[in-house]
Symmetry: C2
Subunit: 124 residues, 2 copies
């Protein structure tokens, strides 16, 4: 498969030219879309993300946030100095995943009736 690089130097088309494949190379795991769900719901800080009901491990959260930043879906920025503390916000590219989350959410609520609808912060 041909390898191409975008302006951020990230390797693309590593597996194929399918848009789904390239999406899965970023968020194809058990955690990344949950982080994006939380960010869409308004969470911004490490502790807020850690405290979601799925209990993500801190090393995995750090790893995923880094990957999302490299992929351009998330921006990390300091919200205070002394001590420096950071928060994470979705870029447009990240926000554009909202329809994906909504589609998964609709599928989930249809086929797993006990699950609760994707809505405000704190609803997991």
């Amino acid at each position: 498969m041909t390898q191409v690089q975008d302006m951020d130097n990230k390797l693309m088309f590593e597996r194929s030219q399918c848009p789904i494949t390239n999406g899965l190379d970023i968020f194809g795991d058990k955690w990344t879309l949950l982080i994006i769900r939380d960010l869409v719901l308004g969470k911004r800080r490490y502790q807020e993300l850690i405290s979601s009901p799925e209990n993500i491990a801190s090393n995995i959260l750090a790893h995923r946030l880094k990957r999302l930043e490299v992929a351009g879906l998330v921006t990390r920025r300091a919200y205070q100095q002394k001590p420096e503390r950071y928060e994470y916000v979705l870029t447009e590219k990240g926000k554009d995943l909202r329809p994906v989350l909504e589609a998964i959410s609709r599928w989930g609520t249809k086929h797993y009736p006990g699950t609760s609808v994707f809505r405000a912060v704190g609803q997991g």
Copy 2:
């Protein structure tokens, strides 16, 4: 988190009651949605699935098909005897993931312009 079992004995709500979480417990990896993509596109047999451009390893394909069958998204059935050969078809629950694939596909084609649109068999 409480654990509940449905009629197929599959553990549910292992991580949370979020519909996204429960979806990701089935297809939250780099391969499963590609297999479902292929099945949506009309592929049915092991060799057809193996021959997709992403080059899935045969043990991973077998494992994912088994998981999809257990989760009720796919049905395995013999299409011939002597020797027995099987094909895989999506259930309604599996077909219902089509909007998810379409949403990911739209996101991918928007943000990775080199990728080609989700369409007929053989397009990877």
